[in-house]
Symmetry: C2
Subunit: 129 residues, 2 copies
């Protein structure tokens, strides 16, 4: 894949990592947040399959390698100050290791309004509970 | 607002912060990522207005206090391992200090497919370029 900026342009944290927000292309659902180092970023750009640096296991993590739940990249955006990435993906199966489609399945706060989007999130949270 | 978990349950980074993905309720657009400390989290839950810890300024940051571009909370989710939050909000004006609606306005990678959602993101990126 082509890129409009280089890894070198991105601001890394003190461990050389950049956080990546992962959003499902078809639904707009935010699936998870994970972290990339240089190798993970380059492998993602070469393969089109989301690849991270696992902070807990301290190793390269091709998402879906063991579960089959791969994430296929549509597009990746850098944010205004180049310290965070947004990846828009097709998700095979569930994104979360718990089996939930999204890692964000725990509701906090009262629902103060009922937009279509929040309704969909709430429904998904209820179905997955 | 009520909460189904406490700040104490969340896993913080070595600076006592938790990253927050901010998503617009009406569009599903991911607007930005920012960070909360305990005080920011508690003020957000009390006021319903997104409040962060500014890592660059090292101070409490009521989003919109100077710009008027407040973020009103619909709901906040914790992720599976309690180290990241997802806030669904109504955004007054633009979320980004550059004037873009979302901080993620830089396109990377070729568009490999054209889902409705990616089309909308692409259109937004083009309109804002």
């Amino acid at each position: 894949m082509k890129s409009s900026y280089s890894w070198e342009q991105l601001k890394k944290d003190d461990k050389g990592l950049v956080p990546v927000v992962v959003q499902e292309a078809s639904t707009g659902m935010v699936l998870m947040v994970a972290y990339m180092n240089k190798e993970a970023y380059e492998l993602t750009m070469e393969s089109g399959v989301m690849t991270y640096w696992s902070r807990s296991r301290q190793e390269l993590w091709i998402k879906g390698e063991t579960s089959g739940h791969y994430q296929h990249v549509h597009a990746i955006f850098a944010d205004c100050d180049y310290d965070t990435l947004l990846a828009v993906v097709d998700q095979d199966g569930a994104a979360c290791h718990t089996g939930h489609h999204s890692c964000f399945f725990r509701e906090d706060a009262e629902w103060s309004a009922e937009s279509t989007y929040v309704q969909a999130l709430k429904k998904a949270a209820e179905e997955q509970a």
